[in-house]
Amino acid sequence: MRTLLRRSQIWLHIPMFLLAVLFLAPLLWMISTAFKAPEDIIGGLGTMQWLPRPATTENFRTVMGRAEEFPIWRWTFNSVFVSLAVTLLVLTVDALAAFAYSRLKWRGRDQIFALLVATMLVPGQVLLIPSYLLIRRLGLFDTYGALIFPAAAGAFGVFLLRQFFLTIPVELEEAARLDGCGPLGILRHVILPLSKPALATLGIFTFMGTWNAFEGPLLFTDTLTMRTLPVGITIFQGRYNIEYGPLMAAAALAAIPVTIAFLIFQRHIIKGISLTGLAGR
Protein backbone atom coordinates (compact mmCIF):
# COMPACT_ATOMS: atom_id res chain seq x y z
CA MET A 1 0.00 0.00 0.00
CA ARG A 2 2.95 2.30 0.56
CA THR A 3 3.25 3.00 -3.12
CA LEU A 4 -0.30 4.31 -3.42
CA LEU A 5 -0.27 8.12 -3.27
CA ARG A 6 3.42 8.27 -2.44
CA ARG A 7 4.16 11.62 -4.01
CA SER A 8 1.38 13.66 -2.48
CA GLN A 9 1.93 13.14 1.25
CA ILE A 10 1.19 16.74 2.21
CA TRP A 11 -2.18 16.64 0.42
CA LEU A 12 -2.88 13.49 2.40
CA HIS A 13 -1.93 15.02 5.73
CA ILE A 14 -4.20 18.04 5.36
CA PRO A 15 -7.50 16.09 5.26
CA MET A 16 -6.19 13.48 7.71
CA PHE A 17 -5.28 16.17 10.20
CA LEU A 18 -8.59 18.01 9.77
CA LEU A 19 -10.42 14.74 10.35
CA ALA A 20 -8.30 14.09 13.44
CA VAL A 21 -9.37 17.50 14.76
CA LEU A 22 -13.02 16.68 14.02
CA PHE A 23 -12.72 13.31 15.79
CA LEU A 24 -11.09 14.86 18.85
CA ALA A 25 -13.23 17.99 19.07
CA PRO A 26 -16.28 16.43 20.82
CA LEU A 27 -14.09 14.90 23.54
CA LEU A 28 -12.14 18.11 24.05
CA TRP A 29 -15.40 20.05 24.20
CA MET A 30 -16.67 17.63 26.85
CA ILE A 31 -13.60 18.25 29.01
CA SER A 32 -13.67 22.00 28.35
CA THR A 33 -17.34 22.24 29.35
CA ALA A 34 -16.70 20.15 32.46
CA PHE A 35 -14.29 22.80 33.76
CA LYS A 36 -16.47 25.84 32.93
CA ALA A 37 -18.60 27.89 35.27
CA PRO A 38 -22.37 27.65 34.58
CA GLU A 39 -22.62 31.25 33.33
CA ASP A 40 -19.83 30.58 30.81
CA ILE A 41 -21.73 27.60 29.47
CA ILE A 42 -25.21 29.06 29.17
CA GLY A 43 -24.10 32.62 28.54
CA GLY A 44 -21.35 31.39 26.27
CA LEU A 45 -23.54 32.07 23.24
CA GLY A 46 -21.24 32.77 20.35
CA THR A 47 -18.09 32.78 22.45
CA MET A 48 -17.01 29.21 21.72
CA GLN A 49 -14.20 29.30 24.25
CA TRP A 50 -12.14 26.14 24.19
CA LEU A 51 -10.08 27.06 27.23
CA PRO A 52 -12.33 27.55 30.24
CA ARG A 53 -11.53 30.93 31.86
CA PRO A 54 -11.68 30.80 34.78
CA ALA A 55 -11.32 27.01 35.03
CA THR A 56 -13.34 25.61 37.91
CA THR A 57 -13.76 22.19 39.48
CA GLU A 58 -17.21 23.18 40.68
CA ASN A 59 -18.96 20.82 38.24
CA PHE A 60 -16.98 17.85 39.52
CA ARG A 61 -17.81 18.81 43.08
CA THR A 62 -21.49 19.05 42.12
CA VAL A 63 -21.36 15.57 40.61
CA MET A 64 -19.59 14.04 43.59
CA GLY A 65 -21.38 16.02 46.27
CA ARG A 66 -24.84 14.51 45.82
CA ALA A 67 -24.03 11.06 47.11
CA GLU A 68 -27.59 10.11 48.14
CA GLU A 69 -29.06 11.12 44.81
CA PHE A 70 -26.10 10.19 42.59
CA PRO A 71 -23.69 7.79 44.28
CA ILE A 72 -21.02 8.23 41.64
CA TRP A 73 -18.29 6.57 43.71
CA ARG A 74 -20.48 3.54 44.21
CA TRP A 75 -21.18 3.45 40.45
CA THR A 76 -17.46 3.73 39.77
CA PHE A 77 -16.75 0.91 42.22
CA ASN A 78 -19.48 -1.22 40.59
CA SER A 79 -18.05 -0.59 37.13
CA VAL A 80 -14.51 -1.44 38.20
CA PHE A 81 -15.53 -4.51 40.20
CA VAL A 82 -17.90 -5.91 37.59
CA SER A 83 -15.49 -5.28 34.70
CA LEU A 84 -12.63 -7.01 36.54
CA ALA A 85 -14.83 -9.91 37.63
CA VAL A 86 -16.22 -10.49 34.14
CA THR A 87 -12.73 -10.29 32.62
CA LEU A 88 -11.35 -12.81 35.10
CA LEU A 89 -14.32 -15.14 34.67
CA VAL A 90 -14.21 -14.95 30.87
CA LEU A 91 -10.47 -15.62 30.72
CA THR A 92 -10.83 -18.63 33.03
CA VAL A 93 -13.88 -20.39 31.64
CA ASP A 94 -13.16 -19.48 28.01
CA ALA A 95 -9.57 -20.75 28.18
CA LEU A 96 -10.73 -24.05 29.70
CA ALA A 97 -13.48 -24.39 27.10
CA ALA A 98 -11.27 -23.36 24.17
CA PHE A 99 -8.77 -26.01 25.28
CA ALA A 100 -11.53 -28.61 25.31
CA TYR A 101 -12.72 -27.65 21.81
CA SER A 102 -9.25 -27.45 20.28
CA ARG A 103 -7.09 -30.03 22.05
CA LEU A 104 -9.25 -32.68 23.64
CA LYS A 105 -11.40 -35.24 21.93
CA TRP A 106 -14.79 -36.00 23.34
CA ARG A 107 -18.21 -37.04 22.13
CA GLY A 108 -20.36 -34.20 20.84
CA ARG A 109 -17.50 -31.73 20.81
CA ASP A 110 -17.89 -30.52 17.23
CA GLN A 111 -21.68 -30.40 17.42
CA ILE A 112 -21.60 -28.30 20.58
CA PHE A 113 -18.97 -26.01 19.13
CA ALA A 114 -21.05 -25.51 15.98
CA LEU A 115 -23.95 -24.55 18.25
CA LEU A 116 -21.76 -21.97 20.03
CA VAL A 117 -20.68 -20.45 16.73
CA ALA A 118 -24.25 -20.36 15.43
CA THR A 119 -25.44 -18.32 18.42
CA MET A 120 -22.89 -15.61 17.68
CA LEU A 121 -25.27 -14.30 15.01
CA VAL A 122 -28.18 -13.92 17.44
CA PRO A 123 -28.78 -10.23 18.20
CA GLY A 124 -28.17 -9.54 21.88
CA GLN A 125 -31.59 -7.94 22.21
CA VAL A 126 -33.34 -11.25 21.60
CA LEU A 127 -31.86 -12.42 24.91
CA LEU A 128 -32.84 -9.44 27.04
CA ILE A 129 -36.44 -10.25 27.98
CA PRO A 130 -35.96 -13.98 28.63
CA SER A 131 -32.71 -13.30 30.51
CA TYR A 132 -34.50 -10.74 32.65
CA LEU A 133 -37.13 -13.33 33.63
CA LEU A 134 -34.52 -16.02 34.27
CA ILE A 135 -32.44 -13.66 36.39
CA ARG A 136 -35.52 -12.84 38.46
CA ARG A 137 -36.34 -16.51 38.85
CA LEU A 138 -32.76 -17.35 39.88
CA GLY A 139 -32.87 -14.62 42.54
CA LEU A 140 -30.06 -12.73 40.82
CA PHE A 141 -32.01 -9.60 39.93
CA ASP A 142 -30.31 -6.39 41.14
CA THR A 143 -27.19 -8.27 42.33
CA TYR A 144 -23.62 -8.40 41.08
CA GLY A 145 -24.46 -11.84 39.72
CA ALA A 146 -26.89 -10.24 37.28
CA LEU A 147 -24.14 -7.91 36.08
CA ILE A 148 -21.43 -10.58 35.86
CA PHE A 149 -22.79 -13.97 34.74
CA PRO A 150 -24.79 -12.99 31.61
CA ALA A 151 -21.85 -10.81 30.49
CA ALA A 152 -19.51 -13.81 30.63
CA ALA A 153 -21.76 -16.30 28.84
CA GLY A 154 -21.09 -15.46 25.19
CA ALA A 155 -19.31 -17.75 22.76
CA PHE A 156 -16.98 -15.20 21.23
CA GLY A 157 -14.06 -15.62 23.63
CA VAL A 158 -14.16 -19.39 23.30
CA PHE A 159 -14.13 -19.06 19.52
CA LEU A 160 -11.25 -16.56 19.59
CA LEU A 161 -9.06 -18.57 21.97
CA ARG A 162 -9.79 -21.85 20.21
CA GLN A 163 -8.66 -20.43 16.88
CA PHE A 164 -5.47 -19.29 18.56
CA PHE A 165 -4.85 -22.57 20.39
CA LEU A 166 -5.16 -24.43 17.08
CA THR A 167 -2.09 -22.59 15.77
CA ILE A 168 0.12 -24.01 18.54
CA PRO A 169 2.04 -27.07 17.24
CA VAL A 170 0.76 -30.39 18.58
CA GLU A 171 4.35 -31.61 18.99
CA LEU A 172 4.85 -29.33 22.00
CA GLU A 173 1.82 -30.92 23.61
CA GLU A 174 3.05 -34.45 22.87
CA ALA A 175 6.38 -33.65 24.51
CA ALA A 176 4.63 -32.45 27.66
CA ARG A 177 2.45 -35.55 27.62
CA LEU A 178 5.52 -37.78 27.55
CA ASP A 179 6.83 -35.85 30.55
CA GLY A 180 3.72 -36.94 32.38
CA CYS A 181 1.53 -33.84 32.07
CA GLY A 182 -2.23 -34.33 32.20
CA PRO A 183 -4.61 -32.09 30.22
CA LEU A 184 -4.60 -29.41 32.92
CA GLY A 185 -0.79 -29.43 32.99
CA ILE A 186 -0.62 -29.07 29.22
CA LEU A 187 -3.02 -26.13 29.34
CA ARG A 188 -1.07 -24.44 32.14
CA HIS A 189 2.48 -25.13 31.04
CA VAL A 190 2.24 -25.28 27.24
CA ILE A 191 -0.86 -23.59 25.85
CA LEU A 192 -1.41 -20.60 28.14
CA PRO A 193 2.19 -19.31 28.15
CA LEU A 194 2.16 -19.36 24.34
CA SER A 195 -1.23 -17.65 24.12
CA LYS A 196 -0.47 -14.43 25.96
CA PRO A 197 -1.30 -12.15 22.97
CA ALA A 198 -4.70 -13.76 22.47
CA LEU A 199 -5.46 -13.75 26.21
CA ALA A 200 -4.43 -10.08 26.43
CA THR A 201 -6.67 -9.16 23.50
CA LEU A 202 -9.64 -11.03 24.93
CA GLY A 203 -9.01 -9.58 28.39
CA ILE A 204 -8.82 -5.97 27.18
CA PHE A 205 -11.89 -6.29 24.98
CA THR A 206 -13.88 -7.95 27.73
CA PHE A 207 -12.90 -5.24 30.18
CA MET A 208 -13.77 -2.38 27.84
CA GLY A 209 -16.96 -4.05 26.68
CA THR A 210 -18.14 -4.63 30.23
CA TRP A 211 -17.14 -1.14 31.34
CA ASN A 212 -19.27 0.34 28.56
CA ALA A 213 -22.12 -2.19 28.71
CA PHE A 214 -25.45 -0.45 28.77
CA GLU A 215 -28.49 -2.62 28.13
CA GLY A 216 -27.72 -5.43 30.57
CA PRO A 217 -27.03 -3.17 33.57
CA LEU A 218 -30.05 -1.03 32.66
CA LEU A 219 -32.44 -3.98 32.69
CA PHE A 220 -30.93 -6.39 35.21
CA THR A 221 -30.50 -3.91 38.06
CA ASP A 222 -32.96 -1.64 39.73
CA THR A 223 -31.71 0.19 42.82
CA LEU A 224 -29.52 3.27 42.60
CA THR A 225 -26.60 1.59 44.38
CA MET A 226 -26.43 -1.34 41.94
CA ARG A 227 -26.09 0.79 38.79
CA THR A 228 -22.88 1.10 36.80
CA LEU A 229 -21.39 4.34 35.48
CA PRO A 230 -22.98 4.38 32.00
CA VAL A 231 -26.46 3.84 33.41
CA GLY A 232 -25.68 6.24 36.24
CA ILE A 233 -24.91 9.00 33.75
CA THR A 234 -28.30 8.63 32.14
CA ILE A 235 -29.93 8.82 35.57
CA PHE A 236 -27.96 11.97 36.21
CA GLN A 237 -29.03 13.36 32.84
CA GLY A 238 -32.64 12.52 33.55
CA ARG A 239 -32.61 14.93 36.48
CA TYR A 240 -30.13 17.58 35.33
CA ASN A 241 -30.78 17.46 31.64
CA ILE A 242 -29.84 21.06 30.87
CA GLU A 243 -27.05 21.51 33.43
CA TYR A 244 -24.38 20.74 30.93
CA GLY A 245 -21.43 21.51 33.21
CA PRO A 246 -22.09 18.77 35.79
CA LEU A 247 -23.33 16.50 33.01
CA MET A 248 -20.06 16.79 31.08
CA ALA A 249 -18.09 16.34 34.31
CA ALA A 250 -19.94 13.07 34.95
CA ALA A 251 -19.45 11.97 31.34
CA ALA A 252 -15.73 12.78 31.54
CA LEU A 253 -15.39 10.78 34.76
CA ALA A 254 -16.90 7.75 33.04
CA ALA A 255 -14.89 8.17 29.84
CA ILE A 256 -11.43 8.87 31.27
CA PRO A 257 -10.53 5.47 32.81
CA VAL A 258 -11.41 3.57 29.65
CA THR A 259 -9.60 6.17 27.52
CA ILE A 260 -6.44 5.77 29.59
CA ALA A 261 -6.70 1.98 29.38
CA PHE A 262 -7.05 2.31 25.62
CA LEU A 263 -4.03 4.60 25.29
CA ILE A 264 -1.89 2.20 27.32
CA PHE A 265 -3.00 -0.92 25.45
CA GLN A 266 -3.76 0.61 22.04
CA ARG A 267 -1.17 -1.48 20.24
CA HIS A 268 -2.69 -4.72 21.57
CA ILE A 269 -6.19 -3.50 20.92
CA ILE A 270 -5.67 -2.44 17.32
CA LYS A 271 -3.67 -5.55 16.53
CA GLY A 272 -6.27 -7.63 18.32
CA ILE A 273 -9.08 -6.30 16.14
CA SER A 274 -7.25 -7.10 12.94
CA LEU A 275 -6.51 -10.61 14.23
CA THR A 276 -10.00 -11.34 15.45
CA GLY A 277 -12.35 -9.23 13.38
CA LEU A 278 -13.84 -7.83 16.55
CA ALA A 279 -14.58 -4.18 15.87
CA GLY A 280 -15.45 -2.91 19.30
CA ARG A 281 -18.36 -3.69 21.55
Binding site: M1, L96, T119, L121, P123, T234
Partner: protein, 326 residues
Protein backbone atom coordinates in the same frame (compact mmCIF):
# COMPACT_ATOMS: atom_id res chain seq x y z
CA UNK B 1 -12.33 -16.62 2.53
CA UNK B 2 -15.72 -15.38 3.74
CA UNK B 3 -18.35 -18.14 3.70
CA UNK B 4 -15.93 -20.98 3.28
CA UNK B 5 -13.91 -19.94 6.30
CA UNK B 6 -16.58 -20.97 8.76
CA UNK B 7 -17.01 -24.74 8.16
CA UNK B 8 -13.23 -25.11 8.03
CA UNK B 9 -12.89 -23.25 11.28
CA UNK B 10 -15.42 -25.50 12.96
CA UNK B 11 -13.39 -28.65 12.32
CA UNK B 12 -10.59 -29.24 14.80
CA UNK B 13 -7.73 -31.43 13.61
CA UNK B 14 -8.43 -35.13 14.18
CA UNK B 15 -6.82 -36.54 17.28
CA UNK B 16 -5.80 -40.14 17.71
CA UNK B 17 -7.15 -40.84 21.14
CA UNK B 18 -10.22 -39.80 23.03
CA UNK B 19 -9.92 -37.80 26.22
CA UNK B 20 -13.22 -39.21 27.40
CA UNK B 21 -15.13 -37.27 29.99
CA UNK B 22 -12.34 -34.81 30.85
CA UNK B 23 -12.85 -32.90 27.60
CA UNK B 24 -16.46 -32.26 28.51
CA UNK B 25 -15.47 -31.26 32.05
CA UNK B 26 -13.12 -28.59 30.68
CA UNK B 27 -15.94 -27.15 28.58
CA UNK B 28 -18.49 -27.42 31.39
CA UNK B 29 -18.02 -24.11 33.29
CA UNK B 30 -18.51 -22.10 30.12
CA UNK B 31 -21.29 -24.38 28.93
CA UNK B 32 -23.22 -23.81 32.15
CA UNK B 33 -23.03 -20.04 31.68
CA UNK B 34 -23.75 -20.36 27.97
CA UNK B 35 -26.74 -22.63 28.50
CA UNK B 36 -28.25 -20.43 31.23
CA UNK B 37 -27.75 -17.02 29.65
CA UNK B 38 -27.67 -17.69 25.90
CA UNK B 39 -29.17 -21.01 24.85
CA UNK B 40 -32.10 -21.16 27.28
CA UNK B 41 -32.99 -17.45 26.73
CA UNK B 42 -33.06 -17.91 22.94
CA UNK B 43 -35.62 -20.70 23.29
CA UNK B 44 -37.41 -19.21 26.29
CA UNK B 45 -37.82 -15.91 24.41
CA UNK B 46 -39.60 -17.70 21.61
CA UNK B 47 -41.85 -19.40 24.18
CA UNK B 48 -42.64 -16.07 25.88
CA UNK B 49 -43.47 -14.48 22.54
CA UNK B 50 -46.24 -17.04 22.00
CA UNK B 51 -48.06 -15.99 25.19
CA UNK B 52 -49.98 -12.99 26.38
CA UNK B 53 -47.49 -12.25 29.11
CA UNK B 54 -47.84 -9.25 31.40
CA UNK B 55 -45.17 -9.15 34.10
CA UNK B 56 -47.65 -8.59 36.91
CA UNK B 57 -50.31 -11.03 35.69
CA UNK B 58 -50.58 -14.47 37.31
CA UNK B 59 -51.66 -16.24 34.12
CA UNK B 60 -49.86 -16.21 30.81
CA UNK B 61 -52.30 -17.67 28.28
CA UNK B 62 -50.91 -19.20 25.10
CA UNK B 63 -52.00 -17.10 22.12
CA UNK B 64 -49.92 -18.70 19.37
CA UNK B 65 -48.78 -16.11 16.89
CA UNK B 66 -51.12 -13.50 18.40
CA UNK B 67 -48.30 -11.16 19.44
CA UNK B 68 -46.76 -11.34 15.99
CA UNK B 69 -50.10 -10.60 14.37
CA UNK B 70 -50.62 -7.71 16.77
CA UNK B 71 -47.19 -6.29 15.89
CA UNK B 72 -47.88 -6.46 12.16
CA UNK B 73 -51.13 -4.54 12.61
CA UNK B 74 -49.62 -2.06 15.09
CA UNK B 75 -48.92 1.30 13.46
CA UNK B 76 -46.23 2.11 16.03
CA UNK B 77 -44.37 -1.11 15.22
CA UNK B 78 -44.25 -0.02 11.59
CA UNK B 79 -42.98 3.42 12.61
CA UNK B 80 -40.22 1.71 14.61
CA UNK B 81 -39.38 -0.59 11.70
CA UNK B 82 -39.33 2.30 9.23
CA UNK B 83 -37.07 4.38 11.50
CA UNK B 84 -34.75 1.42 12.03
CA UNK B 85 -34.47 0.72 8.30
CA UNK B 86 -33.89 4.44 7.67
CA UNK B 87 -31.06 4.35 10.22
CA UNK B 88 -29.54 1.22 8.64
CA UNK B 89 -29.73 2.76 5.16
CA UNK B 90 -28.00 5.90 6.44
CA UNK B 91 -25.34 4.34 8.65
CA UNK B 92 -24.19 1.26 6.72
CA UNK B 93 -23.04 2.97 3.48
CA UNK B 94 -21.93 6.17 5.20
CA UNK B 95 -20.14 4.46 8.08
CA UNK B 96 -18.38 1.98 5.81
CA UNK B 97 -17.39 4.72 3.36
CA UNK B 98 -15.85 6.78 6.17
CA UNK B 99 -14.09 3.71 7.61
CA UNK B 100 -12.71 2.76 4.21
CA UNK B 101 -11.50 6.30 3.46
CA UNK B 102 -9.80 6.53 6.85
CA UNK B 103 -8.14 3.15 6.28
CA UNK B 104 -6.96 4.17 2.79
CA UNK B 105 -5.49 7.34 4.28
CA UNK B 106 -3.77 5.40 7.06
CA UNK B 107 -2.39 2.84 4.62
CA UNK B 108 -0.88 5.56 2.47
CA UNK B 109 0.47 7.92 5.09
CA UNK B 110 4.13 7.52 5.96
CA UNK B 111 4.35 9.56 9.15
CA UNK B 112 1.99 10.10 12.08
CA UNK B 113 0.07 6.96 11.15
CA UNK B 114 -0.17 5.74 14.75
CA UNK B 115 -1.37 9.15 15.93
CA UNK B 116 -4.17 9.27 13.35
CA UNK B 117 -5.11 5.67 14.06
CA UNK B 118 -5.42 6.30 17.81
CA UNK B 119 -7.46 9.46 17.31
CA UNK B 120 -9.89 7.91 14.83
CA UNK B 121 -10.32 4.84 17.02
CA UNK B 122 -10.68 6.65 20.34
CA UNK B 123 -14.49 7.24 20.19
CA UNK B 124 -15.03 3.48 19.76
CA UNK B 125 -13.87 2.77 23.32
CA UNK B 126 -16.35 5.19 24.90
CA UNK B 127 -19.74 4.10 26.21
CA UNK B 128 -22.82 5.01 24.21
CA UNK B 129 -24.14 6.68 27.36
CA UNK B 130 -21.23 9.14 27.37
CA UNK B 131 -21.35 9.56 23.59
CA UNK B 132 -25.05 10.36 23.47
CA UNK B 133 -24.96 12.69 26.50
CA UNK B 134 -22.07 14.55 24.87
CA UNK B 135 -23.69 14.81 21.44
CA UNK B 136 -26.96 15.93 22.94
CA UNK B 137 -25.01 18.91 24.28
CA UNK B 138 -23.30 19.54 20.94
CA UNK B 139 -26.63 19.25 19.08
CA UNK B 140 -28.28 21.85 21.33
CA UNK B 141 -30.09 24.22 18.98
CA UNK B 142 -29.23 27.51 20.73
CA UNK B 143 -25.87 26.94 22.40
CA UNK B 144 -24.64 23.67 20.90
CA UNK B 145 -21.14 23.64 19.47
CA UNK B 146 -22.22 22.49 15.99
CA UNK B 147 -24.77 25.25 15.42
CA UNK B 148 -22.39 27.85 16.86
CA UNK B 149 -19.71 26.89 14.36
CA UNK B 150 -22.12 26.55 11.44
CA UNK B 151 -23.46 30.00 12.28
CA UNK B 152 -19.95 31.41 12.36
CA UNK B 153 -19.06 29.84 9.03
CA UNK B 154 -22.25 31.06 7.36
CA UNK B 155 -21.72 34.54 8.80
CA UNK B 156 -18.17 34.59 7.53
CA UNK B 157 -19.20 33.42 4.06
CA UNK B 158 -21.84 36.18 3.97
CA UNK B 159 -19.29 38.76 5.03
CA UNK B 160 -17.08 37.94 2.06
CA UNK B 161 -20.07 38.47 -0.21
CA UNK B 162 -21.54 35.04 -0.82
CA UNK B 163 -25.31 35.29 -1.39
CA UNK B 164 -26.38 33.07 1.52
CA UNK B 165 -29.47 33.39 3.69
CA UNK B 166 -28.78 34.32 7.33
CA UNK B 167 -28.09 31.20 9.42
CA UNK B 168 -31.10 29.50 10.97
CA UNK B 169 -30.06 27.19 13.84
CA UNK B 170 -30.52 23.59 12.73
CA UNK B 171 -33.09 21.59 14.74
CA UNK B 172 -30.85 18.50 15.14
CA UNK B 173 -32.90 16.70 17.74
CA UNK B 174 -36.12 18.72 17.80
CA UNK B 175 -37.35 18.32 14.23
CA UNK B 176 -38.62 14.77 13.53
CA UNK B 177 -37.05 14.57 10.09
CA UNK B 178 -33.64 15.55 11.47
CA UNK B 179 -33.55 13.01 14.29
CA UNK B 180 -32.39 9.86 12.45
CA UNK B 181 -29.72 11.68 10.38
CA UNK B 182 -28.46 13.26 13.63
CA UNK B 183 -28.29 9.85 15.31
CA UNK B 184 -26.54 8.43 12.25
CA UNK B 185 -23.96 11.25 12.31
CA UNK B 186 -23.03 10.68 15.95
CA UNK B 187 -22.95 6.93 15.27
CA UNK B 188 -20.48 7.42 12.41
CA UNK B 189 -18.23 9.33 14.81
CA UNK B 190 -18.66 6.66 17.47
CA UNK B 191 -18.11 3.54 15.34
CA UNK B 192 -16.08 4.45 12.22
CA UNK B 193 -12.77 3.53 13.88
CA UNK B 194 -13.81 -0.10 14.41
CA UNK B 195 -14.36 -0.98 10.77
CA UNK B 196 -11.43 1.28 9.85
CA UNK B 197 -9.04 -1.11 11.60
CA UNK B 198 -10.62 -4.07 9.80
CA UNK B 199 -10.30 -2.36 6.41
CA UNK B 200 -6.72 -1.46 7.29
CA UNK B 201 -5.95 -5.12 8.04
CA UNK B 202 -7.57 -6.07 4.74
CA UNK B 203 -5.47 -3.49 2.89
CA UNK B 204 -2.25 -4.71 4.47
CA UNK B 205 -2.98 -8.20 3.10
CA UNK B 206 -2.82 -6.88 -0.46
CA UNK B 207 0.69 -7.33 -1.79
CA UNK B 208 2.63 -4.23 -2.81
CA UNK B 209 3.67 -6.09 -5.97
CA UNK B 210 0.26 -5.50 -7.54
CA UNK B 211 0.55 -1.75 -7.05
CA UNK B 212 4.10 -1.65 -8.36
CA UNK B 213 3.13 -3.63 -11.46
CA UNK B 214 0.15 -1.35 -12.03
CA UNK B 215 2.31 1.75 -11.59
CA UNK B 216 4.74 0.45 -14.17
CA UNK B 217 1.80 -0.05 -16.53
CA UNK B 218 0.94 3.61 -15.95
CA UNK B 219 -2.21 3.17 -13.86
CA UNK B 220 -3.15 6.25 -11.79
CA UNK B 221 -4.26 6.10 -8.15
CA UNK B 222 -7.93 5.90 -9.12
CA UNK B 223 -7.37 3.05 -11.59
CA UNK B 224 -5.20 1.21 -9.07
CA UNK B 225 -8.01 1.48 -6.50
CA UNK B 226 -10.68 0.06 -8.82
CA UNK B 227 -8.51 -2.59 -10.43
CA UNK B 228 -6.64 -3.84 -7.36
CA UNK B 229 -7.79 -2.55 -3.98
CA UNK B 230 -11.55 -2.80 -4.39
CA UNK B 231 -11.75 -6.38 -5.78
CA UNK B 232 -9.08 -7.75 -3.44
CA UNK B 233 -10.70 -6.08 -0.46
CA UNK B 234 -14.07 -7.73 -1.10
CA UNK B 235 -13.86 -10.36 1.70
CA UNK B 236 -13.18 -7.57 4.21
CA UNK B 237 -15.96 -5.43 2.77
CA UNK B 238 -18.40 -8.33 3.02
CA UNK B 239 -17.44 -8.96 6.63
CA UNK B 240 -17.77 -5.28 7.57
CA UNK B 241 -21.09 -4.86 5.75
CA UNK B 242 -22.65 -7.95 7.33
CA UNK B 243 -21.68 -6.92 10.84
CA UNK B 244 -22.59 -3.27 10.25
CA UNK B 245 -26.09 -4.29 9.23
CA UNK B 246 -26.31 -6.67 12.19
CA UNK B 247 -25.22 -3.92 14.58
CA UNK B 248 -27.25 -1.12 13.00
CA UNK B 249 -30.54 -3.03 13.25
CA UNK B 250 -30.01 -3.25 17.02
CA UNK B 251 -29.67 0.53 17.50
CA UNK B 252 -30.93 1.29 20.99
CA UNK B 253 -28.61 3.29 23.26
CA UNK B 254 -28.63 6.42 21.12
CA UNK B 255 -32.40 6.88 21.24
CA UNK B 256 -32.65 5.72 24.83
CA UNK B 257 -30.09 8.21 26.13
CA UNK B 258 -31.15 11.10 23.87
CA UNK B 259 -34.88 10.79 24.49
CA UNK B 260 -36.18 8.01 26.75
CA UNK B 261 -33.94 8.84 29.70
CA UNK B 262 -35.03 12.50 29.72
CA UNK B 263 -37.88 12.95 32.14
CA UNK B 264 -40.80 14.92 30.79
CA UNK B 265 -39.67 14.76 27.17
CA UNK B 266 -41.17 12.66 24.37
CA UNK B 267 -40.22 9.06 25.24
CA UNK B 268 -39.02 8.16 21.77
CA UNK B 269 -38.15 11.49 20.25
CA UNK B 270 -40.38 14.17 18.68
CA UNK B 271 -43.26 12.46 16.87
CA UNK B 272 -41.63 9.07 17.67
CA UNK B 273 -38.86 9.91 15.21
CA UNK B 274 -36.24 8.22 17.42
CA UNK B 275 -38.28 5.05 17.96
CA UNK B 276 -36.34 1.99 16.81
CA UNK B 277 -37.32 -1.68 16.99
CA UNK B 278 -35.03 -2.30 19.96
CA UNK B 279 -36.37 0.76 21.79
CA UNK B 280 -39.95 -0.32 21.07
CA UNK B 281 -39.16 -3.75 22.49
CA UNK B 282 -37.80 -2.04 25.61
CA UNK B 283 -40.79 0.29 25.97
CA UNK B 284 -43.30 -2.56 25.51
CA UNK B 285 -41.40 -5.02 27.69
CA UNK B 286 -40.07 -2.83 30.48
CA UNK B 287 -42.32 0.24 30.57
CA UNK B 288 -45.66 -1.36 29.63
CA UNK B 289 -44.64 -4.74 31.14
CA UNK B 290 -46.01 -6.52 28.05
CA UNK B 291 -43.03 -8.83 27.76
CA UNK B 292 -44.81 -11.30 25.50
CA UNK B 293 -45.29 -8.54 22.96
CA UNK B 294 -41.75 -7.25 23.55
CA UNK B 295 -40.31 -10.72 22.94
CA UNK B 296 -42.28 -10.98 19.68
CA UNK B 297 -40.76 -7.66 18.53
CA UNK B 298 -37.29 -8.98 19.39
CA UNK B 299 -37.93 -12.13 17.36
CA UNK B 300 -39.20 -10.15 14.38
CA UNK B 301 -35.95 -8.15 14.60
CA UNK B 302 -34.02 -11.43 14.73
CA UNK B 303 -35.87 -12.77 11.68
CA UNK B 304 -35.18 -9.63 9.64
CA UNK B 305 -31.50 -9.63 10.56
CA UNK B 306 -31.14 -13.35 9.81
CA UNK B 307 -32.71 -13.04 6.35
CA UNK B 308 -30.55 -10.02 5.53
CA UNK B 309 -27.36 -11.73 6.69
CA UNK B 310 -28.07 -14.79 4.54
CA UNK B 311 -28.94 -12.58 1.57
CA UNK B 312 -25.73 -10.58 1.92
CA UNK B 313 -23.61 -13.71 2.09
CA UNK B 314 -25.38 -15.09 -1.00
CA UNK B 315 -25.13 -11.92 -3.05
CA UNK B 316 -21.67 -10.75 -2.12
CA UNK B 317 -19.87 -14.09 -1.86
CA UNK B 318 -21.17 -15.23 -5.27
CA UNK B 319 -19.59 -12.17 -6.79
CA UNK B 320 -16.54 -13.02 -4.75
CA UNK B 321 -16.35 -16.42 -6.46
CA UNK B 322 -16.85 -14.84 -9.88
CA UNK B 323 -13.92 -12.48 -9.39
CA UNK B 324 -11.78 -15.29 -8.01
CA UNK B 325 -12.35 -17.29 -11.21
CA UNK B 326 -11.87 -14.34 -13.53
Amino acid sequence: MSTRALPEAIQAPPSRRSDGISGFLFALPHLLLFATFVLVPVLYGLYISLHRWHVLAKEHPLIGLGNYGAALSDDIFWIALRNTIYFVVLIVPLGNLVSLLLALGLASVQRLGTFYKIVYYLPVVISIAVVAVLWRWMYNTEIGLINLYLGTVVGWLRSIGLPLAPFEPLPWLSNPSWVMPSIALLTVWWTAGGNMVLYLAGLSNISDDYYEAASIDGANAWQRFWAITWPLLRPTTLFCLVFSVLGAFQVFGQSYVLFTSIQGGPQSGPARSGLTLALYMYLQGFRQYEIGYGAAIAYLLFAIVLVLTILQFRLLSNRDDATAKA
